[in-house]
Symmetry: C2
Subunit: 189 residues, 2 copies
Amino acid sequence: MDLLKRKILDDGKVIDGNILKVDSFLNHQIDVKLLLEIGKEFRKRFNDIKITKILTVEASGISVATITAMNFNVPVIFAKKGSSKNQDDETYESEAFSFTKNKSYIMKVSKKYLNETDNVLIIDDFLANGEACLSLINIAGQAGAEISGIGIVIEKAFQDGRKKIEDLGYHVESLARIKSMKDNQIEFI
Amino acid sequence: MDLLKRKILDDGKVIDGNILKVDSFLNHQIDVKLLLEIGKEFRKRFNDIKITKILTVEASGISVATITAMNFNVPVIFAKKGSSKNQDDETYESEAFSFTKNKSYIMKVSKKYLNETDNVLIIDDFLANGEACLSLINIAGQAGAEISGIGIVIEKAFQDGRKKIEDLGYHVESLARIKSMKDNQIEFI
């Protein structure tokens, strides 16, 4: 997706050859024009596939997953982190490790909103080591739902997240695949 | 907003006369058709007002704020809770107490994305005691930004959040105002 790659080159910032900051347009401040195009692109890439629900995890996946859900005209569910008083007791739960935050967390989805009749498209803003995505796959599995595909905005293709997911037999579409960030220079596949 | 009120009556659940669960359509699973109408309604209610940025706080405000930002064709910023490695050091910060989670948290916005040239529309899913909203007002104030208005999806009008905000001189629009949840029955204003 050229518009996205252009934006990453123009406004993204690489730190220490490993961290890519896109908080000017994707996960802190959000460029809504770009977001609209991202939603359309996911619709195009997963056309002709049965999808009943979009699944993501809070917080930075929410805006991308919501615009994608609009394009498929299906509900979006975001897995919650931690626990709160107005959360259901009956939840699917899975643990993931965040390298960005350097800690593990539990993500939860209420059993009411995902079951074996669902065809799930998993959406997230980043794919690196695959931790978050594998947890969402785990949760969809607990629900007995079919996983129709996995849509990622930015993939750090030099990490092994895609391999782990493909080894499980799932189809991944990433809108921008970064081959290298060596010397803080971004190179796409 | 009749569609929203209908949805709250049909699918909302009151617990202990105080907690309103709307996680089947607003803050865990999201009904995208309803969300589209919410975005249009905020556009209508804040028409003819200068708005350059939409401001909300993660996580449940993000989808509502994003669709509203699309209707105004301006960027949306979501304040982050806690800290992570790919967060800016230069942030506006404000503390808020969450009655739902029964703890205080710090919300942060990078100084890069909000300044004195901005006209901010604050958007959130709930207004009850006003804690989150007052923190967002505080952050916009630190930036020297103008606050153009405050848009709320569901207001618990039997709590004092609106009063606190109006006492500061700001204009609040809520799409559904709940007068009472006594005996777990929802009554609108």
